[in-house]
């Protein structure tokens, strides 16, 4: 983990002096080493069977590799920087390093133009990438919630820097700003949540949080290290604030942080705009890693959430609404990256829903496992899709698929890998998405049939819009070769290799017996034993139907889409404009916050507060002017005042005293 940091420092400080190539190689090599280390770590964790990692009953334990005091608030309230290994962090380590390495590799090609000339700020780009990888790794291995917050912020900042990589472009600048501020706002909730939680528990440590509810014994599992935290959190004397227990407040606020990072409604608006960044960045940050941090956060604190049913409901509802909303919007976008962005939102919402509906009493917490599984598969295929999109964009020079069409012949590798990605996300057997999504649907089914129907519908929409995208890019009509525009072709190996690798993973990842590795309480979980074929079949059917519909509409150039559009103009309009969320936010920030609060305050400050201070000076001056008549220049007036003064002095004193 230190390696990316070093890389960041080296590249950041010395980058200017370095050649572009060296910077690229250094960055990639550094990431490669990290990748190997991460794999080694994960492998060791899962397979070594050491008693540190696995209890005698086969339960996977949380293992703290090291933990140094970083900042001490109180005797027991300490921010430590440490390294926590448990199933999900090991999983995330693998995911992050894999994707990150792919992206590093890919960027070597992407960040050049067609003549192999490096883009301006190439070293900077690698520096930021390394910084991001460092922060993300720090986030996932965090031993305590505050460490997580620290890296959470760092992730946000590096995301800001990367989105704003093309800083000359105003749209990129504003997108980066938006991303940062929106997530910052969410982090405020996170922070307050942390404050509440830590105040009542007296600790930041995850291990303390997670072991507490378990110790309660409600769920039939008990750990020896029962702690008094439980009482503090939810005991009979648990403080109530505005009708909800403090724990609910804390968890909801923390979830708010997750909402921001994972772009849940209504804090999702930054993600589509964030596509202004270079495409590899979108792949790394805004598809695979950072945006799932919110899911990861909830998963981390899952035992706590379990204790608060209302918080779980909130998560489910938010996730479900977001999933549907994003899917709807994705159907109408014309920018391929935006489509992918909304699809990301939708998929993450899937994970959230999955966590929300997870119930240890149903299939032993299937939802949790499903969520993590989906996280893993989604990271792979979404990165694949993004990188593929990047290849397209690099080839065409535009984000807009109306300028693409019919590329299948020109870019075969891209075509195939993209197709695999689409199949995976649509949930077609045997691609990875099928398995993970199916788990989620199962979990929903276990919760309530409404959730199940709802999510199935979203799944159908997913398949539809992905294939809409796919057909529009690669089919629809022949590629119009315009004057002065060279023919698009596949990209150099640095770019295609990651595509191929990721495609391979996306194809087979679904077959991994995931439940063995990750489950909510660490005990191995037999995934296939719980596999519900009826649900799988239904979802498969739904997906296939959706794909067929998409094929019907977009395979060949035809007027059907336009008809559809005209049939439901309002809906289309709303979807196309993302339900006017951006406008709403613009209204709130500009009209209300800026014009409604900031300006009046600034005015108030200048005119009222400062005016008061100036007013003192003014009054003094005026008074000075007003009394100048005393000094009239006439001796007799002087003497008169003198005499009256003396008499008044005597008279008033006499009256007062006597």
């Amino acid at each position: 983990m230190a390696i990316p940091l070093c890389m960041f420092l080296i590249l950041g400080l010395l980058g200017m002096k370095m050649s572009h190539k060296l910077a690229g190689i250094l960055g990639t090599a550094g990431m490669g080493v990290t990748l190997v280390l991460a794999y080694f770590t994960a492998f060791t964790y899962f397979f070594s069977g050491s008693p540190d990692f696995v209890s005698s009953e086969g339960q996977r334990l949380q293992y703290i590799v090291f933990n140094v005091d970083w900042l001490q608030f109180y005797d027991n309230l300490v921010i430590r920087l440490g390294f926590l290994l448990d199933p999900i962090s090991a999983l995330l380590l693998v995911v992050i390093t894999t994707i990150s390495f792919m992206v590093h590799l890919y960027s070597n090609g992407y960040m050049r133009d067609h003549h192999g000339v490096y883009e301006h700020g190439f070293q900077r780009f690698y520096a930021f990438l390394s910084l991001f990888s460092f922060s993300m790794l720090g986030l996932v291995v965090a031993t305590n919630i505050f460490q997580m917050y620290i890296f959470w912020e760092l992730v946000g900042a590096s995301s800001y820097l990367l989105i704003g990589f093309y800083y000359v472009k105003p749209s990129a600048v504003s997108a980066s700003k938006k991303a940062f501020i929106v997530t910052r706002f969410a982090d405020l909730g996170f922070l307050i949540g942390i404050l509440i939680l830590s105040f009542y528990t007296g600790t930041f440590n995850f291990t303390d949080f997670t072991s507490a509810p378990v110790a309660d014994g409600v769920y039939g599992v008990s750990l020896d290290t029962a702690q008094g935290i439980k009482n503090l959190i939810a005991g009979s004397e648990a403080p109530i604030f505005m009708g909800a227990s403090v724990l609910t407040w804390a968890l909801v606020l923390i979830f708010m942080g997750g909402m921001g990072k994972s772009a849940m409604l209504p804090l999702h608006i930054w993600l589509p705009d964030a596509m202004e960044g270079p495409t590899p960045v979108s792949a790394l940050i805004h598809a695979a890693t950072m945006v799932v941090a919110g899911v990861y956060l909830v998963a981390r604190l899952f035992p706590l959430y379990l204790m608060e049913h209302s918080a779980m409901v909130i998560i489910t509802v938010v996730g479900a609404v977001t999933a549907f909303y994003a899917a709807m919007v994705a159907c109408t976008q014309i920018d391929i990256k935006r489509v992918l962005a909304f699809s990301t939102i939708s998929q993450i919402a899937f994970m959230m829903v999955s966590l929300g509906v997870a119930d240890p009493n149903f299939h032993e917490g299937l939802g949790y496992m499903a969520s993590m599984f989906h996280l893993f598969t989604h990271a792979m295929f979404k990165a694949l899709l993004f990188l593929g999109a990047g290849a397209l964009i690099h080839a065409i020079g535009s984000n807009d698929y109306t300028e693409m069409h019919g590329l299948r012949k020109y870019m075969p590798i891209t075509h195939v890998t993209f197709l695999i990605g689409c199949l995976a996300i649509a949930g077609i057997i045997p691609f990875s998405g099928f398995f993970s999504k199916d788990e989620i649907l199962s979990a929903c089914f276990g919760n309530s049939w409404i959730a199940y129907l709802w999510m199935s519908m979203v799944a159908a929409l997913t398949a539809f819009y992905m294939f809409r995208l796919y057909f529009l890019i690669f089919w629809w009509k022949e590629h119009p070769v315009r004057q002065g525009h060279h023919t698009p072709h596949d990209q150099p190996w640095t770019m295609t290799l990651p595509l191929v690798i990721l495609a391979a993973i996306a194809t087979v990842a679904g077959l991994i017996p995931f439940g063995n590795f990750v489950s909510w309480n660490g005990e191995p979980y037999d995934l296939f034993g719980h596999f519900d074929w009826s649900i799988a079949a239904v979802s498969l059917l739904v997906a296939v139907v959706a794909i067929l519909v998409a094929a019907k509409m977009y395979m060949k150039e035809n007027p059907l889409p336009a008809k559809m559009k005209n049939a439901m103009p309002t809906l289309w309009d709303w979807c196309h404009h993302r339900f006017y969320w951006d406008e709403l936010y613009m209204f709130i920030t500009h009209k209300i916050i800026f014009n409604g609060i900031c300006r009046p305050i600034a005015w108030f400050d200048r005119h009222i507060i400062d005016g008061t201070m100036d007013g003192f000076a003014y009054v003094t001056n005026k008074a000075s002017y007003a009394i100048r008549g005393l000094q009239s220049g006439s001796i007799q007036m002087y003497v008169w005042i003198y005499l009256i003064g003396a008499l008044a002095l005597g008279a008033i004193t006499a009256v007062c005293i006597l």
Binding site: A617, Y638, V639, I641, A646, L649, T653
Partner: protein, 483 residues
């Protein structure tokens, strides 16, 4: 008859001796040797100042003469020495002015009058009998009228003299009226006897209050306390600059100390009944109105007049403190004030003598043409405003400390008002600094080299401003000898 009693009055006699020598020198020496008159008198006076540091004077024991009509002690000797130092600086500063063609013929009289008024102040300070006090007061103020009228060719000087003499006489009439009431109440004019009689008597009554008001107004006139101050600005503006500086520091300092003696020794027993509240009112009025007027002034001398009015208000805080600390703080304040104000007047005088300019606009950009003068002026302004590490800060701090030592809640309020007023005063002092340092306009005062005497006097003042505060032994000494 025991004429040996005169020997107690060492300083008065010394001063008269200097006066006589100067007088005789002026009258009988041939005309061509009169050019050295300023130097001669300054040197003589300097010797006399030095005499003030002889142990017999410096640590003078408490002594009275003429059956208690006259008293001296270490405190009194020291305050006289303080005044002497100020007078010496004024004399040195005045040399250049006195050598001007239009004044030269009268310069002997200038020094003589200066010395006699100083003698009058001595009497005021040492007097323990109201007759002697009155004579001292008149000796200290009447010849000053003649000094104010010294620049006969200037209209302002004449107007100032008339204003001064008429108000002075009027105020002494009021003062005497008050005294007659006091006499009627107590049957004596000795300070000690009056105090005893007041203590024995049936306490406070209307007649005493009115008498007290008249007495305070009489001395307040010299101190230019509001509302008895109205002559001050016009007279300061009109008078020749050395006379103004003399009026503003020495005369004021002596009056302040005499005021303290009168109030404490004569009316001490009616402190809380009568004059404490009168002084509250006077101090607030003085500081506030002085400051308010000072804000608008463009003429430097007039400006300093109002500034000195508000300074008088601060000095009065030492009186109201009514304890040994107050006395020490008052003396120390006077000492510091002498140096600061004389530095300011020295600069004004130097510039006036060279270019005839006394308006604040003329000081614009002075730092570019005359950096040293500007720097000195700045020090003076900072010291007057009470900015550390200059002496003015210490004097202000100590006088506030001594006042608060009195302990009542009212005194906190009073000090707070005074402190808020220091901000106003800081404003106008900074205006001068701003004109000299910040203003972008071209200076209208050309670069010049001031006369030796002026520079010498300014160096003394600067030294005083820088050292008086930091060197703690001076204040410690004053506090030690105060009662």
């Amino acid at each position: 008859m025991d004429y040996s009693q005169f020997l107690v009055m060492k300083q008065e006699i010394g001063l008269l001796a200097v006066f006589l020598i100067v007088f005789l020198y002026d009258t009988f020496m041939p005309k061509r040797s009169l050019g050295a008159l300023g130097t001669v008198s300054s040197v003589l006076f300097a010797l006399f100042v030095a005499y003030g540091f002889c142990p017999s004077v410096f640590d003078s024991p408490v002594e009275t003469a003429f059956s208690g009509m006259y008293a001296t002690s270490a405190v009194i000797a020291n305050i006289k020495t303080i005044l002497n130092i100020g007078a010496l600086i004024v004399m040195i500063q005045a040399m250049r002015w006195a050598d001007q063609d239009l004044v030269r013929i009268r310069r002997g009289e200038f020094y003589e009058l200066l010395l006699t008024t100083l003698f009058g102040m001595y009497l005021m300070i040492s007097a323990r009998h109201f007759l002697l006090f009155i004579i001292g007061l008149e000796t200290a103020s009447l010849p000053l009228a003649a000094m104010v009228a010294f620049d006969k060719h200037r209209y302002e000087s004449r107007e100032a003299a008339v204003k001064y003499v008429l108000t002075a006489v009027f105020s002494s009439a009021i003062f005497l009226m008050g005294l007659s009431f006091v006499y009627g109440l107590t049957g004596s004019l000795y300070f000690g006897k009056i105090a005893t009689a007041l203590m024995m008597g049936d306490g406070i009554n209307a007649l005493l209050v009115v008498a007290l008001a008249f007495v305070i107004s009489g001395i307040g006139f010299k101190l230019s306390l509001v509302p008895f101050h109205l002559w001050t600005a016009d007279v300061y503006q009109g008078a020749p600059t050395p006379v103004t500086s003399y009026l503003s520091v020495i005369s004021k300092g002596a009056a302040a100390f005499a005021f303290l003696v009168v109030l404490w020794q004569v009316f001490g027993c009616v402190y809380t009944f009568a004059w404490e509240w009168m002084l509250y009112a006077l101090i607030i009025l003085t500081i506030t109105i002085g400051n308010l007027f000072a804000i608008r002034q463009r003429n430097m001398k007039r400006f300093l007049a109002f500034s000195s009015i508000s300074q008088a208000g601060y000095i009065m805080l030492g009186v109201i403190a009514f304890n040994g600390m107050g006395m020490a703080a008052l003396m120390y304040y006077i000492l510091v004030y002498i140096f600061s104000n004389l530095a300011a007047f020295g600069v004004i005088g130097a510039i006036e003598n060279n270019s005839g300019k006394v308006n604040m606009e003329d000081y614009n950009g002075l730092y570019k043409t005359n950096p040293r003068l500007a720097f000195t002026m700045m020090l003076a302004m900072f010291s007057l405003a009470g900015i550390p590490p200059f002496a003015g800060f210490f004097s202000k701090f100590f006088i506030f400390t001594s006042a608060i030592n009195q302990g009542s809640v009212a005194i906190y309020v009073l000090v707070l008002i005074a402190l808020i007023n220091t901000i106003v005063s800081l404003y106008y002092y900074l205006l001068v600094v701003k004109a000299m340092f910040i203003s972008d306009e071209e200076s209208t005062v050309a670069t010049f080299r001031s006369a030796c005497s002026e520079r010498f006097a300014l160096w003394i003042c600067v030294g005083g401003i820088l050292l008086l505060g930091v060197v703690s032994c001076i204040y410690n000494h004053l506090l030690e000898i105060s009662f």
